[in-house]
């Protein structure tokens, strides 16, 4: 299972808390130097998995190895990992310098070397000159940086981050995302990042594991997750997705035609057995609004515009179609100079997309 360059190997890991299975038989590898995200809604087991990597929880079953060393029975203080906590866990009785230097006490560094490392770490997170500040004098963003520096100063093989940007406001968050990504490239340490924010995961990660109910649904690069989700849950969790259900009528050469009942026949990429119940997933930005029914070269569904929202760079339409419960989401880029709205609420439109834009999902 473990490839030559994997730094973390998780195999068959299950964690139970009494009757609750928080993590259910998970196996995957994380590559050296990777920015890897665990993405999922709350209660999906992502934090439990991270805490097992850190050594705060022991797996009920399965094995975790870090840099080819089995971690069973190795306590947190002897693992080559360091963690940035969701609450930052800045020691309130210590100043910034003492906080960052906390983990250097147990190393064989001299006082001078340790002091220098702390100064370097402060510089790394752009907090030079803040060393003597008390913990309570720091803003949210600064606390986050101190927590990062405190973990990185120990030069871990793996840095674990538990929703570290969750407590920041939107602008600061976006700023920190860019910094975090740049920092990871600079230090070259493997980052394992837990988040429930799919946008954040897409922005930061080399690869993402999408988790739900203690299981991993899909592990892929952000582009692949967005363009080729392997199931309905991933499709709907990452970004907005229109999903139509139906039965496969025929399938050949990587394309299929499905019978979506009231919505008519729809075509999509993917293979499926005839008669199977399947889902067709298509992104809002792949859809076009048309006033006339397009040719058979495109899928088309007739409907009525039920809502329009203006998002500056684009318009977002909701189209209600007969025989489909959820309104269809359509996103149109405002690339013409006038930005005129092409449709009004209540107007009859056709939602159309090329056959190749839709993905067939079996579950």
């Amino acid at each position: 299972m473990a490839t030559a360059d994997s730094i973390i190997s998780i195999s068959g890991v299950t964690k139970r808390f009494g009757p609750v299975t928080a993590v259910d038989n998970i196996s995957f590898d994380i590559q050296r130097g990777e920015f890897f995200s665990l993405l999922g809604s709350s209660g999906c087991g992502k934090t439990t998995l991270l805490r097992m990597l850190a050594g705060f929880e022991q797996p009920s079953e399965g094995e975790i190895s870090i840099d080819r060393e089995a971690m069973a029975g190795v306590p947190a203080n002897h693992r080559p990992t360091n963690m940035v906590f969701q609450s930052y866990a800045i020691f309130p009785h210590l100043n910034v310098r003492e906080n960052i230097g906390y983990g250097l006490r147990n190393t064989d560094l001299s006082r001078e070397e340790a002091g220098k490392r702390v100064i370097d770490a402060l510089e790394l997170v752009k907090l030079s000159g803040y060393g003597e500040r008390a913990a309570h004098q720091l803003s949210g963003g600064q606390r986050q940086r101190v927590a990062l520096a405190r973990a990185l100063v120990c030069r871990p093989k793996v840095l674990l981050l538990d929703e570290p940007l969750g407590a920041l406001d939107k602008n600061l968050r976006e700023e920190m995302q860019i910094e975090l990504r740049a920092l990871q490239k600079t230090v070259g340490i493997t980052f394992v990042f837990v988040t429930h924010d799919q946008e954040e995961a897409l922005t930061l990660s080399d690869r993402i594991a999408v988790m739900s109910k203690g299981r991993v649904l899909q592990i892929d690069a952000p582009e692949a997750l967005y363009d080729n989700p392997n199931c309905r849950e991933v499709a709907e969790f990452i970004g907005t997705m229109n999903v139509f259900s139906g039965r496969t009528m025929e399938s050949a050469k990587g394309a299929a035609t499905i019978d979506a009942r009231a919505l008519g026949k729809l075509q999509a990429q993917g293979t499926s057995r005839k008669g199977d119940y399947v889902f067709l997933a298509v992104r809002p930005e792949k859809l076009k609004l048309m006033t006339k029914k397009p040719s058979a070269a495109m899928n088309a569904i007739g409907g009525v515009v039920s809502a329009i929202s203006y998002r500056g760079d684009r318009h977002h339409f909701l189209v209600k179609a007969e025989g489909h419960d959820r309104p269809i989401s359509v996103s149109q880029q405002n690339d013409s100079e006038t930005s005129a709205t092409p449709a009004k609420v209540g107007s009859k439109v056709w939602v159309a997309w090329p056959h190749s834009a839709g993905r067939l999902l079996s579950n």
Binding site: N77, M83, Q86, H93, R150, A151
Partner: protein, 267 residues
């Protein structure tokens, strides 16, 4: 507009007089040049203080009380701290019943505890009554108070602080020394003060369990039979009052300093 606040003001003053009036009479009579604690006052004197200092058995009982109080407060806090940590940090099987059991002395009348302890010490342990047995009884009384104070402090801080320490390479003991203890320090100080005061003040258990040596409350009680000893006890009471007032002021100043530097660990 004015009637309501001023009515409240009068009420507050009356309340303060009710609360502190009797206590404030003590220093007044301690300087009164008379053997009887009655009005009208006869004149100013410090002779009661001189006689207090000359009364070696009273000074000895004060010393006994101080020693017992210090030992009790340190021991009860030392026992209470690990228990409080265990009960706040870990989900223990039977944690609830254990906690209830530890809190029980809080609601059992101390006369019952005193009699029970007396029977145990004399009949089962066959020990002689002494200040040690008094101290042991006081520790039993103090543990629930110590636990309450410490647990409320320990529950107040983020559990991930201790995890962060472990994560940064410290073992359980050093995490306790470097993180838990400094953060729990205000609670530890409160527990020490509270236990000391409880022990210093305690009469019933001390009365039952003491041997030939007396603690101060027991001694004072025994002196009440002799009216001429009263002014001396009033003088001692006033001195203790002054001492505890200074202690409270000092503790409060320390706490303020601690808040300003936001370093509860410095307390």
């Amino acid at each position: 507009m004015f009637t309501r606040p001023s009515a409240l003001f009068i009420y507050a003053i009356a309340f303060m007089i009710f609360l502190y009036g009797p206590v404030m009479l003590m220093p007044v009579f301690s300087f009164n040049d008379s053997t009887f604690a009655t009005f009208p006052l006869k004149g100013f004197t410090t002779r009661h203080y001189a006689s207090m200092l000359a009364n070696t058995s009273m000074i000895l009982s004060l010393k006994n009380s101080l020693v017992v109080g210090v030992i009790v407060s340190v021991t009860a806090t030392a026992i209470g701290l690990p228990a409080a940590i265990a009960l706040t940090r870990y989900r223990l099987p039977g944690g609830g019943p254990v906690l209830s059991a530890m809190m029980l002395p809080l609601v059992i009348p101390s006369i019952v505890i005193a009699v029970a302890l007396l029977v145990i010490i004399l009949r089962f342990l066959h020990l002689d009554l002494s200040l040690w047995t008094v101290g042991a009884g006081h520790i039993l009384l103090c543990i629930p108070f110590s636990m309450t104070v410490l647990m409320s402090r320990l529950e107040g801080f983020d559990k991930s602080l201790e995890e962060a320490s472990r994560d940064l390479g410290e073992n359980a003991w050093m995490t306790f020394v470097r993180v838990t203890l400094p953060l729990a320090a205000p609670g530890v100080i409160s527990s020490l003060l509270l236990c000391f005061i409880i022990s210093f003040d305690e009469f019933v258990v001390a009365f039952f369990l003491t041997g030939t040596e007396n603690t101060l409350p027991v001694y004072l009680f025994s002196q009440l039979r002799f009216p001429n000893k009263l002014p001396g006890t009033l003088a001692l009471g006033s001195a203790i009052l002054l001492g505890s007032a200074l202690l409270v002021v000092a503790a409060e100043l320390l706490r303020k300093l601690g808040v300003q530097s936001a370093k509860p660990g410095d307390l």
